[in-house]
């Protein structure tokens, strides 16, 4: 048995040389876990010409940054990224690896974990060390909170969405070591990225919205859904949804709020026709005022909000929209 714990790692992500918010949030959390284990917080970052862009990671709590930098790494290239990260992890034996639940992270995490023959917990909403210094990876489930652990295998790996952990207060005086990592430039013959296309969304982004209206499957049908969208419009709010709404095809996956979707922290949250299932509700943090509209007075959603309206949303929402419009027009 080796003495002491291996480092706590974050696999960070950048876009156009800017470190993603979730990576900085995880770095802050990694520093806390590292302090608990009396070890270091370290970040693995791949990109191109990143040398002058790693400071925010140190300010967020990184002690060391493993930096892979070459033109081929500008975008996530699965096969090279995985191969290099696995090799690095085998060499440095981290105790823990945290990865953001981004599109890249959700694909990369299982590829790295399976190759390291270790466990991986999806979409955690909290991470704490238990009495044996094992990482408790908490996920909401069926009305409670489950703690998942990976008792034997190392590293212990988890993915976490943006917004689960707050942005650490940046400490500009902190500095750390950059360790260059050589990553092969040749692309895999069996898989390569030909093009990455980013579209500019025309909706109000959920994460930064002051008001969020979220609809559930209680909307009933596309018409009922459109009313909820109209309510969001009237309030100049971002429109979010629950998972069954995505399954019904009324709204895109990008607008799903919750454990495996987006985290929001608006001033005002209005949940319409949804049951207040934990997997959804954990996605709303620090809202000042919360409202639920549901036709079932016994719905668990009413235990989790400040104001409740027991009514058929298909009847109530149009009336509410009228009132809002009248108010706005003075």
């Amino acid at each position: 048995m080796k003495d002491g714990y291996g480092p706590v790692w974050v696999i960070a992500e950048q876009k156009d040389c800017r470190i993603r918010t979730v990576s900085l949030q995880l770095t802050g959390q990694a520093q806390k876990l590292a302090a608990g284990l009396n070890t270091t917080a370290e970040v693995v970052l791949f990109g191109n010409l990143m040398e002058h862009h790693v400071r925010p990671l140190f300010a967020a709590g990184a002690d060391r940054v493993f930096l892979g930098s070459n033109p081929q790494l500008a975008f996530y290239e699965p096969e090279i990224y995985v191969q290099a990260m696995v090799r690095l992890a085998q060499e440095h034996e981290p105790e823990i690896i945290l990865i953001g639940s981004t599109t890249m992270g959700r694909e990369l995490a299982p590829l790295v974990a399976a190759r390291l023959q270790t466990g991986l917990t999806a979409h955690c909403i909290d991470l704490v060390l238990d009495e044996n210094n094992i990482l408790e990876q908490r996920i909401p489930a069926y009305g409670g909170l489950l703690s998942i652990i990976c008792p034997q295998k190392r590293p212990q790996m988890a993915t976490i969405a943006k917004g689960v952990f707050a942005m650490p207060d940046p400490n500009p005086d902190r500095s750390g070591e950059i360790i260059p990592v050589s990553v092969p430039e040749n692309v895999s013959p069996r898989l390569q990225t030909l093009e990455v296309v980013h579209q500019i969304p025309d909706e109000i982004p959920l994460e930064s919205a002051a008001i969020v209206v979220a609809g559930g499957v209680g909307a009933g049908d596309p018409d009922g859904w459109r009313q909820i969208a109209d309510l969001a419009d009237a309030l100049n709010a971002a429109l979010g949804c629950t998972r069954p709404v995505v399954d019904e095809g009324w709204a895109p996956l990008e607008s799903m709020i919750g454990q495996s979707g987006r985290m929001v922290s608006p001033e005002l949250y209005i949940g319409v026709g949804l049951s207040g299932e934990q997997q959804h509700m954990v996605g709303i943090t620090g809202a000042k005022v919360m409202v639920a509209i549901n036709n079932d007075a016994k719905s668990p959603v009413f235990d989790q909000v400040d104001y409740g309206v027991v009514d058929d949303c298909r009847e109530f929402v149009p009336v509410l929209i009228e009132k809002i419009k009248a108010y706005q027009n003075g």
Binding site: L111, A114, L191, Q192, L194, E195, D303, V309
Partner: protein, 265 residues
Amino acid sequence: MMNIVVCVKAVPDPQQACNIKIDPVTKTLMRCEVPLVLNPLDKNAMEAALELKEQFDAYITALSMGPPDAEAIVRECLALGADQGILLSHRAFAGADAYATAYTLATAITKIGPVDVVFCGMASSDGSTEWVGPEIATFLDLPVVTMVEEIVECQGPQWKVKASLAHGYRLMQVQLPAVFTVTRELNTPRALVFSGIIKARKKSIVRWGIDDLGVTSDAVGLKGSPTIVSKLSTTESKRAVEILTGTREEKAAQLLQKLVDSGVV
């Protein structure tokens, strides 16, 4: 001939999922009252395979690991047009996390023989890790593309597919054999037809247990799972609700007033 494996999971009917509770003692899910159905996204995975079979000479295997009642969803896949159904069912397989699930499925795929394409759903509605597809790919040492929303080019062994990004897409070129996890944007799953159901009655479902796969019992199921559930805690609400009363008009007016008074509108 193109050999396609579709991994399909039996999940508690998502429409009734709120009836699933955790057994406070064993910390396992009590899902007995909720009927099992084909995982929604696995219908898209099946559809992807069926559309290829319409274009090419293809043989489709629907593969599932689950309890004996999962046989119904394998039969549903046969009725949709799969050529063969395989159910991995054995006590030792129970309690598997994503890693052990992927290992068991990958071992079965190896036994099925050389495959060209493995389709999975992007996520299951109950586990919802999204890990099983990529981990199967790792065990089989195959390339994987997750969240496929369009198959752009599939003539020959070099495919081009679009994988969805939060806003946008990645265009990927991949050499078969390969694993793909699919989104609901990929296609519209076909409905079951009566003639398919009749035909499926004649097809047999192969059942493989632990001996058929030649794996040891500590590599599968709960024992083969790196992760376990350690604790179950309950969450408490931090808010005291005020239920608004009166007519619909009154409730709407009151609600608006409350929001204006709190300064959020």
